[in-house]
């Protein structure tokens, strides 16, 4: 007879940034009778998952499940929609657009297809001839699709950007309402059993807090994990070239449906076009002087320099301590994967949530999948650095066998091999590679189909674009209508 495990009674989340608060909120929802306490360790300015107010489409789904309403994020946390990343100069003279989401296929939407995998496991993805997102961005028109949306807008996936402070406050309000506790302090010690199970943490003020599960969302300092006896770290410095991220002081707020990544002689520059301020971020390589970065960013004084030693914890769940966000993995914010990875690993923790006693097998499954997720991020970043200009600026980097295989298969055959727990869908990878100017080979089947298949697809696509544009108001107009609804 199977027994339910005794549910968690006490959970401690170290780190009160946007990741820690969302984690606490999610855990409290999962086990409502447990006491969930956030220990507000001093904010870590180097924790990119906490610092940047944006993620990828996955986060929208997670928010939905946690009752964090997108409309509220728009009205109270300054949220805006990003439909794609415009990329320039990763290949000389090339500009492209990396959009989100899958190519829609009705037959893949049934529950059966999802659960039984009758869907597109096959690796070949048609080269996108453009995307709905591209057309919408070009015309500045968009509104998020409603439930049961019947126009092609339903097929447009997007990421959100928000104001970190406002977003965090909103989450704190929710968390408090649900009974999440908050203690401010710095972790001074861990109390562990002989078998390594942590029973309590001591704060600098002398307070001692006991729990059965500890989640470290404290950022790069790893308030909890750094105190574990054995901390194995997978060093990514041979794979990823950036050693410092320079963040510009945000300028005037803008309303844009796209963000921008450009390759320059000094490194890549990412433009984050948030409603509360446009911010540029520069990825500086090993030998470069961060002070000179000011020049690259147009002479304005950079607001911060975040040092970076890229890598990830080999086993982010040790004993009864789970690391999320920058405590578990550190890498540059190219493509805004930082909070996305943190949220996907949080979701994995929710799926495999233990009881009062941690099961080694379950922990093993978490670590197996979390490592795949982290490596997926590393290899996705590797795609940017595989573009010719990036390679010229940063030099040739090491590539994992999986990345090498992907680049080779794509270059010769237009094929993206399947990867478990990958950061992007195959269609998104194709879109990104095209945006970076990395050319894909021809897929044998479409080569055989010839131009005819292409023309038919283009015709259908053009009709979709028209319908999507017709269904979309100018984005500013839409935003105004939700922020200040017309009376009546």
């Amino acid at each position: 007879m199977s027994e339910p495990r005794e549910p968690l009674r006490n959970i401690i989340v170290a780190g009160g940034g946007q990741l820690g608060v969302l984690t606490a909120l999610a855990l409290k929802r999962a086990v409502p009778m447990a006491q969930v306490t956030v220990v507000g360790t001093p904010p870590d300015p180097n924790a990119l998952a906490d610092r940047l107010g944006t993620a990828l489409p996955f986060t929208n789904r997670l928010h939905d499940r946690l009752g964090v309403d997108e409309a509220v994020l728009v009205s109270e946390a300054g949220a805006s929609h990003r439909l794609l990343m415009r990329t320039t100069g990763f290949t000389a003279g090339h500009e492209g657009f990396a959009a989100y989401g899958a190519l829609p296929e009705t037959k893949l939407r049934s529950r059966f297809a999802r659960e039984w995998g009758g869907g597109s496991r096959s690796g070949s993805a048609q080269q996108t001839v453009g995307s709905l997102a591209e057309a919408l961005v070009a015309s500045g028109r968009f509104r998020p699709p409603g439930p049961g949306e019947s126009t092609p807008l339903a097929e447009v996936d997007y990421a959100l950007r928000w104001n970190v402070g406002a977003y965090r406050s909103l989450l704190i309000g929710r968390a408090q309402k649900m009974g999440v506790q908050y203690v401010e302090g710095e972790v001074a010690s861990l109390e562990a059993d002989a078998d390594g199970t942590v029973s309590a943490i001591g704060l600098t003020g002398g307070q001692v807090l006991g729990a059965e599960l500890f989640v470290d969302c404290s950022g790069t300092r790893g308030a909890l994990v750094s105190r574990l006896p054995r901390l194995e770290w997978n060093d990514w410095s041979a794979y990823l070239p950036v050693r410092a991220v320079v963040l510009e002081r945000p300028g005037r707020g803008v309303l844009a449906l796209e963000d921008h990544a450009a390759m320059t002689e000094e490194g890549w520059v990412v433009g984050h076009a948030a409603r509360d301020g446009h911010q540029r971020i520069l990825g500086v390589r090993d030998s470069a002087d961060p002070a000179q970065a000011a020049d690259v960013l147009g002479g304005s004084a950079p607001v911060a320099v975040v040092p970076l030693s890229p890598g990830a914890m080999a086993t982010p769940w040790q004993g009864n301590v789970v690391a999320l966000g920058d405590a578990a993995a550190r890498f540059e914010p190219l493509g805004f994967l930082n909070l996305d990875l943190a949220h996907r690993q949080l979701d994995l923790l929710l799926e495999l949530l233990p009881g009062r006693e941690v099961d080694a097998r379950e922990r093993g499954e978490f670590n197996r999948r979390a490592e795949l997720m982290a490596e997926g991020v590393r290899d996705t970043l590797g795609l940017y650095y595989a573009a010719l200009e990036a390679e010229r600026v940063y030099g040739r980097l090491e590539r994992s066998p999986a990345l090498e295989n992907l680049l080779d298969q794509y270059a010769r055959r237009g094929r993206i091999p399947h990867s478990e727990e990958g950061a992007l869908m195959n269609e998104e990878i194709v879109s990104l590679l095209a945006a970076l100017g990395i050319e894909g080979g021809e897929i044998p089947v479409s080569r055989a189909e010839g131009a005819q298949g292409m023309h038919a697809a283009q015709g259908a696509f053009a009709a979709k674009v028209d319908a999507a544009l017709a269904a979309s108001p100018p984005y500013a107009e839409w935003l105004q209508s939700v922020l200040a609804p017309a009376p009546g």
């Binding site: 049934s110 059966f112 089947v445 080569r447």
Partner: protein
């Protein structure tokens, strides 16, 4: 553009069985202009043709080739299949259906089966398969195509049960219509390039020489190219999957209704299939020759099968395992030449289809084979075989049966590490190891674990959070909804009859 077109690759398919004609038809249809397909078949290669039951993926194959479902079903006397009914596997007297579908829906991010396990503690949940739409429809002998709207009626899929001796010829006709050249004759010599070792031509008994750039070995267990010529190593899996023979025997229908599912009944030295087609029932005893003789097995299937016997039992011999490399030099094995896993979960045709899909994706346009594509093909094929293998072994190992030497052996044998880990995760925590590439996901593993009585020791703590009466009410409602929706579905035979006009009109 057009003047840079590469010359077509001369693809020579050796073997005119199911795998051979599937390969020839698919490459000719999907790669026109890129592949020039020539199939060589000979009577002495022989056709196994017992793969009567399929998996839902076959639908994708048929669809992708642009074949009309009705025409295909008519030609192969096909019926619909919603799953497999396993009898006496976990212990004698128990049975369960492994459906092409799910059980309930996750609630608050926790899998349905955890709640079921929770209610099962007080014995109030009833069998898990009551919560599967596909199982309920199968048990009621009803069928209708699934919905596409995310509703309960979209929580399942279907496959076909067909006459495999007709499927090959159907694919042959399709292949010939799409430009496949066919030659009949026995291969007496295989010519190879003295430098590269690649196969360059097949020489037939009558002296005909068939040259090619790419050779697909579909010669079955004989593996004339991959085995005899290239001597690619065979990894034997008999120690995990001891069944190595089948005694197949068709019978007439005995019942009014046609079951929309395959039945697999455990036998003292293996198991027996029962596959209802439109015009007859396929039967067969898959057995381990180390535990029972061929004669005994034939007697056993004659004794066990219902209905008038339409032919004497035919014994087929096979070897579970796979080649270390299914693509070697310029020879690709598809079907039994590449590997074999017994038909317990109807995977044979799927495995051929999978290899064909990867062959099309990795097709050497222009004829020059890149070793990286060969490695990629072998990596993908191995992954699929290993995952299916583990799932099959589970059916034997998750048992309490000790009533025969065979069952005692499979119950106590050591299983592959990859499976042992999965089983431990299930036993300890009620969780299924997750992967998204390969066959058989959560619902399938849960169906077999639970169906064979391998219940975990612990399940998700959150399953105990909802109040029991509320859970019972929700469970009851799900059962009722399934029952009422299933009662609206037509009977399987009725549906086939109703569709018979469409089937008859099929080109």
């Amino acid at each position: 553009m057009s003047d840079t077109s590469p010359r077509p690759v001369r693809v020579v398919v050796l073997g005119g069985g199911t795998a051979g004609w599937m390969t020839a038809a698919a490459t000719a249809k999907l790669l026109p202009g890129l592949a020039e397909v020539h199939l060589v078949e000979s009577e002495d290669i022989g056709i196994v043709g017992v793969g009567e039951a399929t998996l839902p993926h076959i639908r994708g194959f048929v669809e992708r080739l642009g074949i009309d479902e009705a025409a295909f079903m008519k030609a192969t006397h096909a019926t619909y299949k919603l799953g497999i009914d396993f009898r006496d596997f976990g212990s004698i007297g128990t049975s369960y259906i492994h459906p092409f579908g799910s059980f309930g829906e996750p609630v608050a991010g926790v899998g349905f089966h955890h709640y079921w396990l929770e209610l099962e503690r007080s014995g109030k949940a009833g069998p898990l398969d009551q919560y599967s739409f596909a199982v309920a429809a199968a048990k009621a002998n009803r069928f209708a195509p699934p919905a596409m709207d995310g509703s309960l009626a979209s929580s399942y899929g279907y496959a076909y049960q067909f006459d495999a001796t007709l499927f090959g010829p159907f694919m042959r006709d399709f292949g010939l219509a799409n430009g496949v050249t066919r030659t009949e004759g026995r291969v007496t010599e295989v010519e190879r390039d003295s430098e590269s070792g690649d196969v360059t031509a097949l020489v037939l008994e009558n002296g005909t020489r068939i040259e090619g750039d790419l050779f697909v070995d579909c010669s079955g267990f004989r593996a004339l190219l991959l085995g005899d010529t290239l001597d690619e190593e065979w990894e034997d899996w008999t120690h995990w999957l001891p069944c190595d023979r089948a005694a197949a025997m068709p019978c007439a229908h005995v019942r009014e209704e046609i079951e929309p599912y395959t039945t697999a009944s455990a036998m003292p030295a293996g198991w027996r299939w029962r596959i209802p087609l439109q015009h007859r029932i396929g039967n067969g005893y898959v057995f381990a020759s180390a535990f029972i003789s061929e004669d005994e097995a034939c007697e056993a299937i004659i004794g066990a099968a219902e209905g008038t016997q339409l032919a004497d039992p035919r014994v087929l011999r096979f070897r579970p395992g796979r080649r270390s490399r299914s693509w070697s030099h310029n020879v690709i094995g598809v079907g039994l030449a590449s590997g074999f896993l017994e038909p317990l979960e109807s995977t044979s045709i799927y495995l051929a289809q999978m290899a064909i899909t990867y062959l099309v994706e990795l097709f050497p346009v222009g004829g020059k084979i890149d070793p990286r594509d060969r490695d990629e093909f072998n990596r993908l094929v191995d992954l699929e075989y290993d995952r299916v293998r583990d799932f099959l072994i589970l059916h034997y190992n998750a048992t309490t049966r000790d009533d025969s030497e065979f069952w005692d052996h499979v119950r106590t044998m050591e299983v592959p590490d990859s499976l042992a880990g999965k089983m431990e995760l299930w036993r300890e925590a009620g969780r299924v190891e997750k992967y998204s590439n390969g066959l058989f996901y959560d619902a399938s593993w849960i169906a077999v674990y639970v169906g064979q009585g391998l219940l975990p020791e612990r399940h998700d703590p959150r399953a105990a959070i909802p109040r029991e009466d509320q859970m019972l009410a929700a469970f009851g409602k799900l059962r009722d909804t399934i029952a009422s929706e299933v009662s609206q579905m037509p009977g399987h035979r009725d549906y086939l009859l109703r569709e018979s006009a469409r089937l008859a009109d099929a080109p």
